[in-house]
């Protein structure tokens, strides 16, 4: 009889919320390697396992590359698998991530955003998630501890959906969220079982079983490759509406929703919009209210889905605005701007030519302050009124 847990409210760190969520989804296999600032996630899962709360195979691997291969294989054998990493760990499993995505293995992974190697930075930044954007994984990014909890549960629902069958990363800002303690509602295990029940009714995925030889990933020649790439791409496109539906289902079941691909805040009558993601959204929301009080008609778009990029919903939100600013916590080499800015700018044919401003802030644990965001909004407003503006601004 699986362990039953009542719904409860607890003060949890972001990492604690991720571990609770993963435990509630009852993974068959957990394989991960500790790395700052993620370690607490797998420590907590190890404790759940040791205490008998989590009935799974807990594989203590010697590194992230093995972790990724273990969870990939576990899902190919028909199991549910979870791993968590950050920064150096994420790039150490880079090749294996292509396998997992290419095999359409529905692994769920937490990535606690941290600056990647190069300038040894044990601090927050979203460059790690940007570095794996073309591996074929779905990527979500969230704002607070409750959203970490809820989105991790939704990630299992999404990854294993028969129409999707893709691995999913749930990203959250290291330090700012990983160690931030907040009051979090932990759903009861029965509620989560019920929410994921729909997956059991879906057609079974093929799986590896001893005595029944099957091949996967071994047909990389010509049209077979093209077909699989096209299917992978089509599945990615299906994620967009699917995540909106799953979010609505979640709202129905648990009373909390996040808008699916993006969340709009005061955009409807806005003249200008700021687009951002992750933990900076809370600060941005506060500043939107403050600037509204000053008479600036500014709105906010919180990007929740990074891969696939929510082009249609973004176009809807941004069309007709007089100027747009995009705040990135990472940089895009080769385009001299922020990565989210670059991708948002690619929507120009749909949303029209308006001033677009890239803001790079919050690298390496530099705080994205209210003052910074206030300045960004002033710059966007100025640009919308025809004043000269700088395309790319590094803050502070």
């Amino acid at each position: 009889m699986p362990v039953q847990l009542e719904r409860q409210t607890k003060v949890l760190t972001g990492n604690g919320a991720a571990a609770y969520a993963a435990m509630l989804c009852r993974p068959d296999v957990v394989a991960a390697y500790p790395i700052t600032p993620q370690s607490e996630v797998i420590e907590q899962l190890a404790k759940f396992h040791a205490d008998g709360v989590l009935d799974c195979q807990y594989v203590t691997v010697e590194g992230e590359n093995s972790a990724q291969n273990v969870v990939c294989a576990a899902t190919m054998a028909g199991g549910r698998a979870f791993t968590a990493t950050s920064s150096y760990g994420l790039v150490y499993m880079y090749d294996a991530m292509f396998n997992t995505a290419g095999y359409r293995a529905p692994v769920v992974m937490i990535n606690v955003n941290r600056e990647p190697p190069g300038i040894h930075a044990v601090c927050s930044g979203q460059q790690d998630m940007i570095s794996v954007r073309d591996t074929g994984w779905v990527q979500l990014i969230v704002e607070d501890c409750q959203e970490i909890m809820d989105t991790t549960i939704m990630a299992f629902r999404l990854a294993e959906d028969y129409d999707v069958q893709l691995p999913v990363i749930v990203n959250y800002d290291g330090y700012y969220l990983s160690f931030l303690a907040e009051s979090v509602c932990i759903p009861g295990s029965g509620e989560v079982d019920q929410y994921l029940e729909v997956l059991k009714g879906q057609p079974p995925r093929p799986r590896l079983m001893p005595g029944d030889p099957m091949g996967c990933g071994s047909h990389g020649i010509g049209m077979g490759y093209v077909e699989l790439r096209k299917k992978h791409m089509a599945a990615m496109e299906r994620v967009k509406t699917k995540i909106d539906e799953i979010d609505e289902e979640f709202r129905g079941a648990f009373g909390r929703g996040y808008g699916g691909q993006i969340e709009e805040y005061r955009t409807e009558d806005a003249d200008i919009v700021l687009v951002t993601s992750g933990s900076a959204v809370g600060t941005a929301r506060t500043m939107i209210d403050a600037k509204r009080d000053e008479g600036i008609k500014v709105g906010l778009v919180k990007l929740r889905l990074f891969r696939p990029f929510p082009t249609e919903r973004l176009c809807q939100a941004l069309k007709g605005k007089k100027a747009i600013g995009v705040l990135d916590r990472s940089i895009c080499f080769g385009w001299n701007c922020g990565p989210l800015y670059m991708e948002t700018r690619a929507l120009t044919p749909e949303i029209g030519v308006v001033p677009m401003l890239s803001f790079i802030d919050g690298l390496a644990n530099m705080d994205i302050t209210q003052e910074h965001i206030g300045r960004m909004i002033d710059d966007i407003q100025g640009a919308s009124e025809g004043r000269p503006y700088q395309e790319v601004t590094w803050l502070p």
Binding site: G102, C216, E227, L228
Partner: protein, 103 residues
Amino acid sequence: MVAPDDQELFETEASWSDAHGALLCLHTGDWRTERPVFDNDKCNACGFCYIYCPPQCVVDDEDGIHYKADLDYCKGCGVCARECPKGAITMAPEGDYSDACPA
């Protein structure tokens, strides 16, 4: 150019294929330089060798309890011997089992 749907090579989303006609058909035993030798006195029939064998050519022994290698297909990789927790499998040079010198 992408094949229209009616020309799909795979019924599944990923590149899954039935490997019954791909595994255990070519006599890969010819490639072997060492063979696994099973000591049934040490074996506790845990089945690790059966699970770990990459081409799935560890098979049931005639006694219905223990395991043996299907030497038509065993390439002598040695994974079974490495993983056996009881040390019941040793890898022996293939030459010890050859009764003829190559020409």
